[in-house]
Chain length 188, copies 4
DNA sequence: CATGAATGAGACTTCATTCAT
DNA sequence: AATGAATGAAGTCTCATTCAT
């Protein structure tokens, strides 16, 4: 692994362990096992590390693959497939997912318009066509698609984050209920 | 208003404007119009200001009042009443709500176990009995109540936060859809 | 006791407990049970408290009394009498004695020439005539009287301070040896 | 000379010029010609500088060398040799000597037991065997050796410190008197 | 006189960034 | 490219002092 990747990984680890606001360059050097000056061979400043980390996280979230027979599926099958992909992403790339979610708090960067987090990144975009189709078929209520996506996003990610508090397990049964809730929440 | 409140208000404003990580003491006492030393008459250090702010925010969120005829309402009426209270809180105390939500990122405090960020603060607690009743009556699916509450919380707050990006308005129509989604998401 | 005395006592106590350099006004108020502003009714600033404390300490050390038959004593009796008075002072007014001794470290005041510590204060002055007499009588070596006094002072106070480390007791036997050492150190 | 030494030297100079309590970090790095942050590459905080300085001073005081023919000397020759070494130390390393002497006032460090200010550092230790031998030979009075050493220490250092006030010179004649006083003070 | 909340200068300390090696 | 000692601006915090009550 390159020094550059060492730095990015160290930073992401530290952000998830201690929160963005307490990650200092000193901690990054030490964790990444590089000299302090080395950072500046790869990144202009701290914002650039964070920005690059965000892009990298988004890229991972963007790299999903739909199954071969996806196009021939029924609407509800597509719906559940996409939800499953989303859930798996959250679990497999938890650090990247949470980082991307919380990124909007990092106002320094947001204010400078370096990167916009407004877009539906990753597999969430797939919902767009599914929802439109469902609305056309009279299965889903006619409402703003962006709003619909936010509702689905909330139903999936909020219970996932809540499961960290240990009140319930995010197991197969839980996932079934979430999928069902998603479908029903949009229904006529 | 007391100096102490001036300091807390200034800090909350700054956190919501610039994010927790960029709020410095200099900005706080400039905004609060107090001398730098004054902060230390009221708070031991920065963590204590943030902690007090969290407690204050929670207290506000805890201070809801149910309508007089609440107990005699139908289940769905109770359900919608509580959702409306929650939505109004989010809008009226947006700063406090967002701060409390994002607070768990502030690991310094979290790690010290100063405060538990229990997810069932405020009016969300009311959902507990409503959901149990709905499950008993065979209206709602039998699932973990904590999970149900997280689902509702996600359906309400995620679209609210998403509306800030300007894709849709968080207007009456939007609220209707959210209430409907909440009810349906739990239904059999 | 007056507020003024409360302040001086509190300060002297704190100096002996924690050392001059760590005594703050906050600690003084608290110990003296007075308001912070009260200090400024009696003292212009911190230096003035320290200076007053020094004067007070010196005054105590100056208030010794010689026995009635002192004038008719033999030289060696006078010598031992004065040494005993000095030793008793050290023990009875340890705080004041140590403060006065260490005062010269407090350069802020020293530099401003507020007070000079050069003079032989207290009972040490009595040695002057005793030494001169001893030299005239051919009992003591002819050497600078100021030097002689310093030698006596060193023989008495250094072992006293050393006894705090617990290597030996500053008991009657010890005092006898000190008196003997003093006499012999000056002898022909 | 390394930056670390620059810092220690600057601090020692400032302590002797202005006293421990008025030495600030600003003065130290201005005097040492280093940046403010540089201090923290070498020392964790101010206490650590003071502590290191004390250790360094003690090390200097420990590094005396006895003359080659010391073992074959008569008792009084040994006695005078050691006194001369002590006196020369006081003069050559006045800063270190005075710092070490006054260090016990710096209660912060003392209280933390970082360092023990044992009074028998450096050449003073040599007196131990000399005094025991003198007592065995019937030349010195039988008294606690620690007490004897304190007496000698007092006879040497108190007049040295007193000479700074300008009442007499600490010249060869003065040194002779001191050596003589030391010898006589212990004699039968 | 007595008070103590308020102050701000200045102390201590951190941290992103530079630069000679 | 890689390093890490050095830096100093900016941060947190302390403390003597003031002033309205």
């Amino acid at each position: 692994m390159s020094k550059r990747d060492d730095i990015l990984n160290a930073t992401l680890e530290l952000i998830n362990e201690e929160g963005l606001q307490s990650v200092t360059f000193q901690k990054i050097f030490k964790r990444a096992n590089v000299g302090s000056g080395t950072l500046y061979n790869y990144f202009k400043n701290k914002d650039e590390i964070i920005g690059e980390l965000f892009i990298q996280s988004i890229n991972i979230l963007e790299s999903y693959e739909l199954p071969e027979n996806y196009e021939s599926m029924e609407l509800i099958e597509k719906f559940n497939t996409v939800i499953n992909i989303f859930i798996n992403f959250m679990k497999n790339y938890e650090k990247e997912y949470l980082f991307a979610e919380n990124f909007s708090d990092y106002h320094i960067i947001k204010d400078r318009n370096m990167i916009s987090t407004d877009e539906y990144y990753g597999v969430l975009k797939e919902f767009h066509s599914i929802i439109e189709m469902g609305q056309e078929k009279g299965i889903f209520r006619k409402m703003d698609v962006a709003l619909s996506i936010q509702i689905l996003s909330g139903i999936i990610s909020t219970p996932y984050k809540g499961s960290n508090h240990g009140k319930y397990d995010f197991d197969d049964n839980c996932k079934n209920e979430i999928r069902l809730s998603c479908w029903k929440a949009l229904q006529i």
